[in-house]
Symmetry: C2
Subunit: 141 residues, 2 copies
DNA sequence: TAAAATTAAATTGTATACAATTTATTATAA
DNA sequence: TTATAATAAATTGTATACAATTTAATTTTA
């Protein structure tokens, strides 16, 4: 049979599986914070930008309102964010991090180093894969 | 602010984004075959193994019956597979590829090379990332 | 400036992922 | 050999992804 149609030869499947595995690894730390992985990366954006529109948030995460709208509702229910329509343009919804949301950052401070340790990537592997995947993303999005 | 909690510094986010982007790229080819990415990788396993239990299939894809059961129902509805309980152990469900499922392989034959071209990875990048992610998966699953 | 086009979110509908539970069957042990 | 444990799928419930549509607001244009 053609080697090309074998599952084991697909880079796509390796990346897909690695991504799911890493997301599961986050669970160990994020469960304590009552966050999912996606909620965590949204909070990460908000720790860098205390106010951000849904559109800009979506551009940073490459996600649309179909994914973000229900997710932001959950973060709002947890009192980690609030939402407010922009005064000058009512179409725009601004997401605003709350004090509770800001405080969560301290509890999350150790997660990157814990994950790096848990994944077991060498620094070289880490930066090599990141360089290649970031180049790929930049080229196509 | 700590560099470690910046989104742009997370390898995890790069892999997560790359994985989603690649899955979207498959759409262009898989839509013509009326397959989703997950359905495609299940078919890929069946092109290599014409009969396989749900359990073994799950071990190859690192997916459980919660994901596979509804997916296999869809493939059954499309007449690409059939299912049969094992005679010796009624707990086991065998997934059997149909003639229609086998024929689909011809239509899918060009997908790997098309994807490789579309992603724009060099051969070196392709194998480097695959080597590292496969090592990671093997270590943790 | 009023109609048409565009934009930003939200909503709808479909398809994963995955933890947890349930059901049915088989294997094991008291 | 019967109660118990273990196994394999299916089911349930929650949380993404994402295409397509809808709604509301703003811009553009005829």
């Amino acid at each position: 049979m053609e080697e090309e149609l074998k599952l084991e030869n697909q880079l796509c499947f390796s990346i897909y599986t690695a991504s799911r595995l890493i997301t599961r690894m986050y669970g160990k730390y994020l469960d304590k914070l009552d966050l999912t992985y996606l909620q965590y990366i949204v909070m990460m954006v908000l720790w860098e930008n205390e106010i951000i529109s849904v559109k800009t948030l979506g551009e940073k995460l490459y996600l649309d309102s179909g994914t973000l709208s229900p997710l932001l509702k959950k973060l709002e229910n947890k009192k980690l964010i609030s939402k407010k329509r922009n005064d000058n343009d009512e179409r725009i919804v601004e997401v605003i991090i709350s004090e509770k949301g800001k405080n969560l950052k301290n509890l999350a401070a150790d997660i990157p180093e814990n994950l790096f340790r848990d994944t077991g990537f060498s620094a070289e592997e880490y930066f090599k894969v990141k360089e290649i995947t970031d180049g790929f993303i930049k080229k196509h999005l």
